[in-house]
């Protein structure tokens, strides 16, 4: 019963929080309006999102976010220096295949997004069976090193969070 009313409890909490932040003030009226949206939107969209992702390990989540934020800063400086000081043709750019250990679609989505935001890599496609990612590297020494780094830094932590 409760699950039918709140198909995605975390999404409901999230919507209320975003609504209050959007209003930029915490008043009773805004809170009630946020709650109404937090119930209605997950109900209306639950048909398109039948699975219920399990999210655990909150400490790991914070660790993951800090690692990603740090990597974003580092990658920005790296990419900026590549753009400024290297001739475009001399960059060793190539596509690589990243085999996935993750199975949950939500986790793979987060991983693909993280890859795009971090050091010199953009996720370009996923294999039709959802078991491998196509990643484009701006400058790479070797495919194995990049794959190992992505697995070690992000995928290992996402596996703990989502699976």
């Amino acid at each position: 019963m409760l699950l039918r009313l709140f198909p995605h409890p975390l999404l409901s909490v999230w919507i209320v929080a975003v609504w209050v932040l959007l209003a930029n003030e915490v008043t009773f009226g805004q809170l009630v309006l946020g709650l109404i949206l937090g119930v209605l939107i997950p109900l209306a969209t639950s048909a398109y999102w039948p699975g219920r992702p399990r999210v655990g390990a909150p400490l790991m989540m914070i660790e993951f976010m800090l690692v990603v934020l740090w990597d974003i800063v580092v990658s920005n400086i790296q990419v900026a220096s590549l753009i400024l000081f290297r001739r475009g043709d001399s960059l060793q750019s190539r596509f690589i295949t990243l085999p996935l250990d993750l199975r949950s679609p939500e986790a793979i989505t987060v991983l693909a997004g993280t890859i795009t935001m971090t050091p010199g890599t953009v996720s370009a496609d996923v294999s039709a069976d959802g078991r491998a990612l196509l990643v484009h590297c701006l400058e790479t020494d070797g495919a194995e090193a990049t794959v190992a780094q992505i697995k070690q830094r992000y995928e290992r932590r996402l596996k703990r969070i989502f699976e």
Partner: protein, 119 residues
């Protein structure tokens, strides 16, 4: 406004402007579509991130209220930027004959989703 706060906000705005400029410059300079995708998808996150932190810091120090809209913009940006880059890359793979034939194998029975769904 204290001069330290002023200096911090100024520095953040300058850093943000620098990375946005480099990102746009990369978009214009790099030779092909996939390499060009790297400039705007990354340099802009730190660039806009710095500008938003500067905005929050300014309103916290000089204004009379703390603004949370910047946090939301950051979250929305982090949600939408990778999706945009991903869609552009998929469209490019679909259209570019040269890149399509140079893709590495999936090491799986099925091919890449963009091309496999053509059948």
């Amino acid at each position: 406004m204290h001069w330290i706060g002023e200096a911090a906000v100024t520095a953040l705005i300058l850093i943000g402007a620098f990375f946005l400029l480099v990102g746009s410059f990369g978009l214009a300079k790099l030779p092909d579509m996939m390499r060009r995708l790297h400039g705007p998808s990354k340099s802009t996150t730190l660039g806009i991130g710095s500008l938003l932190i500067a905005s929050m810091a300014y309103f916290a120090i000089a204004g009379d209220h703390i603004s949370f809209h910047e946090l939301l913009i950051t979250i929305f940006l982090f949600l939408t930027a990778p999706v945009t880059a991903h869609m552009l890359a998929k469209a490019h793979i679909l259209r570019s004959q040269a890149d399509r034939s140079s893709l590495p194998p999936t090491d799986r029975p099925s091919g890449w989703a963009t091309l496999d769904s053509e059948k």
